[in-house]
């Protein structure tokens, strides 16, 4: 399969698998915005396409510069990369798919269609096991049907090209059927985003096998080198090696030179070193991939370096460190995911030892959460994801950690705050999980955001651009007036029977508007106590806690 233009492929070796992965990544990159648009809720929340793309990119980075050709070892590296880079629920499930796939073929030098089908089946089983309550009409359905099709097709043909083609066709059918299996998809008028992501990845692989050039559009790695104190005309400094067979150095130099300046192309017909300044680093890299294998890719953003250098020359503003809760050996540590620094400060004031920034659209990866767990100066750790789309990644990180680590499955920031009230660093880990979950359940959460598309959901007609109000995850009102939506959400949260309302204002909310919201709420509910916190979270104008 090293020869991509052949008609049939019966065996796949390690380098071939890496190229397939790259093709899947490239095609996902090309399509990820479309996948993002498939969110059930028309809110800018946990973008599935982006999460899967970042997971795939992390997988590819493990093999991009490797010359390994043992397919089992390549697959293991891919699985490791996917696992560490997994973000969001779909990313975590995708990483489980790779894990199951890699596990089956780990001892193989090469695999054939039958082994491919076995690996796909294992991938599907592993994905199902990774989810506490598997739901049909999701990426799980798609991987299972893909595995079934691989089994059927591998009995009829030994050609991977053909088998993969059938698998992809079946995947697209499975994706199209997801709304019939899952009512929320039908209600929202979308297909499942995670399933679509998987279908796109496999389609990218198939396109590559059929001879299409799958270009990686973005740099796979950014390494910051020494500061450069001059302004460049081009933005990126790109360096890499091309390894191949009968490479034409002069022709490659001419081609590369047309893409930018400061071109340096040296080497022989087997190995070429390329150095060039360009605006689009994808261009020379994609070109090089068409000529052979590329190695040691270094992409530096020269504008960024210039800006950094300039900033370094200016006196820095004094930074007031946020006092962190000191951990004493043997105590339980807490890690919380926060969508912005303002909310992170609130968590720290409640005893959180480390805040992982991320949340709405930028879900932190399993690796980020894992390294936070490992870095904490204690061997007992609790993790608060504070977002429903981060719970799986947090669970995955806790399972991988070499410490006693547990997830408090908080779905919102207010739930995280409420859970922390029951935290006791001297307590018992398992009892605390129950007590903190119970405490988390005692608060109601409202959210106000802007709709990202038209939809009718939970009986509410929503138009793209509407201000959208959610009460405990359900759409309660949509309209053009922020305060009107705010009022409807408060009503849904049964504010009249509450005591305390906390408003976390978003990054785009001016202090005046926030103050107006507080005053209005006080007018509507004269008895209630209202506090305002500058949350600073993106996309969500207000996060509301009612208790």
């Amino acid at each position: 399969m090293a020869e991509q233009y052949s008609d049939r492929v019966v065996l796949c070796e390690g380098r071939g698998l890496a190229r397939l992965l790259e093709a899947g990544l490239a095609w996902l990159d090309h399509n990820h915005e479309t996948i993002n648009a498939l969110n059930v809720f028309p809110v800018p929340d946990g973008d599935t396409g982006t999460n899967m793309l970042l997971t795939m990119r992390s997988a590819f980075n493990e093999v991009a510069e490797s010359d390994l050709n043992h397919v089992g070892r390549v697959a293991s590296r891919i699985a490791h990369g996917a696992l560490m880079g997994a973000r969001g629920n779909s990313g975590v499930i995708l990483s489980q798919i790779w894990r199951g796939f890699a596990h089956t073929i780990e001892d193989l030098e090469v695999f054939d269609v039958v082994q491919f089908a076995t690996a796909m089946r294992r991938a599907s089983d592993t994905a199902y096991k990774g989810v506490v309550n598997p739901v049909e009409g999701t990426i799980l359905t798609v991987i299972r049907q893909a595995a079934e099709e691989a089994e059927i097709a591998s009995e009829e043909s030994d050609d991977l090209v053909l088998v993969l083609k059938k698998v992809v066709r079946r995947c697209h059918r499975a994706v199209a059927e997801t709304p019939q299996l899952l009512q929320v998809l039908a209600d929202a008028g979308v297909v499942d985003a995670g399933g679509q992501g998987l279908a796109v990845i496999l389609e990218g692989m198939q396109r590559y096998l059929q001879g299409e050039v799958m270009r990686v559009a973005e740099p796979t790695e950014v390494v910051v080198a020494e500061h450069v104190a001059f302004e460049e005309e081009y933005n990126y400094d790109v360096q890499f090696l091309i390894k191949g067979y009968r490479l034409d150095v002069d022709m490659i130099r001419d081609q590369i030179d047309q893409m930018g300046d400061s071109t340096l192309v040296v080497g022989d017909e087997n190995l070429i070193k390329v150095h060039v300044h360009v605006d689009d680093p994808g261009e020379p890299i994609s070109y090089a991939i068409s000529k052979g294998t590329i190695l040691d890719v270094v992409v530096e953003n020269m504008q960024e370096q210039f800006q950094e250098f300039v900033r370094a020359q200016e006196p820095a503003a004094p930074i007031v460190p946020t006092p962190k809760t000191e951990l004493i050996e043997g105590q339980i540590g807490v890690i919380a995911v926060a969508p912005a620094e303002g909310i992170g400060r609130v968590f720290e004031s409640l005893g959180v030892n480390h805040v992982v920034l991320g949340g709405q659209t930028m879900n932190p990866s399993t690796e980020e959460i894992l390294s936070a767990i490992e870095d904490l100066g204690t061997d007992k750790v609790l993790v608060l994801p504070n977002n429903k789309n981060i719970i799986l990644a947090a669970q995955s990180a806790c399972e991988m950690a070499e410490k006693t680590a547990r997830v408090i499955a908080t779905r919102t920031v207010p739930q995280g705050v409420s859970a922390l009230l029951a935290f006791d660093p001297e307590g018992n880990v398992d009892e605390l999980v129950d007590e903190m979950m119970e405490s988390a359940g005692e608060v109601a959460t409202g959210e106000i955001t802007t709709a990202t598309r038209d939809v009718e959901l939970d009986g509410v007609a929503v138009e793209n651009g509407d201000i959208l109000g959610l009460a405990d995850g359900k759409i309660s009102f949509a309209g053009s007036d922020m305060l009107e939506v705010f009022k409807a959400v408060l009503n849904k949260l049964e504010t009249e029977s509450r005591e305390l309302l906390t408003l976390y204002s978003g990054a785009e909310i001016t202090p005046e508007l926030a103050q107006e919201a507080v005053e209005k709420a006080q007018d509507w509910y004269p008895e209630i106590e209202i506090e305002l916190v500058e949350g600073g979270q993106p996309h969500y104008h207000f996060i509301i806690s009612a208790e």
């Binding site: 609130v346 004031s349 506090e531």
Partner: protein, 276 residues
């Protein structure tokens, strides 16, 4: 002649009870900036709360000078077979030290004991009441001191504060320092026993505070004496009384915190003191 009991205004003893049992109460100082007032002598409770709502920083407190203690002792010395002075924990206040210095000024031969009660508010108040009753019954100073030493370990005080602000600025409780409660309204529940103030829970609403106090109350077995305490929040005190369903509600003493204590916990606090 009998043993006489002296305490300070942080005992929150209702005036009529103190008068009835012959307990002398020495007032503490409350300082608004550089203006100093003797607790409930120079400033009434109403005046205090009015001032409190107008200032940015909570007032501070100070132990009364030794001279004030000396005056108090002198007034009762001729009719005392001994004097027992009861005060809050040494780690929280200098009151007992000031009392001892006051006593030393008198160079009297009358037996004297200044005791760290491990308590304040009605925790201290109940110990003073029990001690005064024993003294009135003719007990010797040794046996009254013995009784107090025993009683000290059986007093529990729980109080839900309205916020962390006063406790943090008071600086007397280490776990209330830092940023806790600075960004969000957090109501700490304090547990005072044998001189230690522990964090007995954090809540965000009065309803939760009430629930937690009732839970704590229910976990204490064989309560002999009970007081409900509050800092200018009689309605919260009443809700707590209604919620705990104590077997003899008529025996409950309800005490409004003295201004000197309110300086450290803030208005709107409520809780209970139980002796087992």
């Amino acid at each position: 002649m009998k043993v006489r009991i002296v305490t300070d205004s942080t005992s929150d003893l209702p005036d009529e009870i103190a008068r009835e049992l012959g307990i002398s109460v020495v007032p503490c100082y409350v300082n608004f900036g550089t203006e100093s007032y003797l607790d409930k002598v120079d400033i009434t409770r109403d005046e205090f709360y009015n001032r409190l709502s107008e200032v940015d920083r909570p007032p501070t407190t100070a132990a009364p000078p030794s001279g004030l203690f000396a005056e108090c002792f002198e007034a009762i010395l001729s009719e005392s077979s001994g004097i027992i002075c009861l005060h809050p924990p040494d780690r929280l206040s200098a009151l007992r030290q000031s009392a001892i210095k006051g006593w030393e000024l008198l160079r009297s031969k009358v037996p004297f004991s200044a005791i760290d009660s491990g308590q304040t508010s009605m925790g201290l108040g109940w110990i003073a009441i029990r001690a005064a009753k024993a003294a009135a019954a003719g007990e010797s100073i040794e046996s009254v001191v013995q009784m107090i030493d025993d009683l000290k370990h059986r007093v529990e005080l729980f109080a839900a504060l309205h916020s962390f602000d006063y406790l943090r600025m008071s600086g007397r409780v280490s776990w209330a320092q830092g940023t806790i409660g600075q960004f969000l309204r957090i109501r700490p529940i304090l547990h005072l026993k044998e001189g230690n103030i522990d964090n007995a829970g954090l809540v965000r609403s009065t309803n939760k505070a009430l629930q937690q106090l009732v839970r704590r109350f229910d976990s204490i077995k064989q309560i002999q004496d009970l007081a409900i305490i509050h800092s200018n929040a009689p309605e919260l005190a009443q809700r707590l009384i209604d919620a705990i369903k104590y077997h003899s509600p008529e025996a409950i003493i309800t005490a409004n915190l003295t201004p000197a204590l309110t300086c450290h916990v803030g208005p709107g606090a409520f809780g209970f003191v139980a002796i087992t």
